[in-house]
Symmetry: none
Subunit: 139 residues, 2 copies
Amino acid sequence: MSKQTRRAFLSAAGKTAAVAGVATLTGSTAMATPPAEKVFVHHVYFWLNNPESQEDKAKLIAGLQKLAKGAKTIKQHHIGTPSTTNRDVIERSYQVSWLLFFKNKAEQDVYQTDPAHLKFIEECSSVWKKVIVYDSEDI
Amino acid sequence: MSKQTRRAFLSAAGKTAAVAGVATLTGSTAMATPPAEKVFVHHVYFWLNNPESQEDKAKLIAGLQKLAKGAKTIKQHHIGTPSTTNRDVIERSYQVSWLLFFKNKAEQDVYQTDPAHLKFIEECSSVWKKVIVYDSEDI
């Protein structure tokens, strides 16, 4: 997978709407849990249209912070920027990392159409040109 | 108020207080978002030489499990495989996800030359053809 457009991102978000109702039935409120518990890991990397724009980066980060508070099924979130580590195998061309833990796939599916998530996309998607998402489930 | 009446009143009041206390605790726990301590996020994705080989995948996973126990500075680890989620923006061609939290960059640097890490590379690197690493630091 290479470059993805805002349109593709929005379209992809829309496609999950059909399964959201089913996912809600199996969803439950997250309780305090030990760190070793198995989780669904949703990791998104953002590339900005204007990589050097501190204003755009701040806008995206503020949007993610608001999203973290508004989305109901997020267990844990981390907003990061590339470290200074620099080896051949390290991808460091992105600008913002958005790492989420969910209880399971169903709760991640709910997140895709959470009103807070849709609002975030509406308000912030103009600043990024590409996103790559890695969804993994703990063994 | 007789002694018996007073005793009954106090007993009832005590039960009410206890119930109220439990209700308050339950309410606050359900609403709480886990505090996200700032961490260094080291996320590695592995592509195997033989993506269909369950034996190679098992060997890699066993190596990572051993590494998780042996490396001294890992705060938290997650070994995962791609979810069934499937949208245009999702990268799902890798076989194994290895997500680590460190206290900071210095502790991640220690990990890179931890004997357990070097041993893991020596024992397992024959099974993979490609790795991509994303190192990010929480804002």
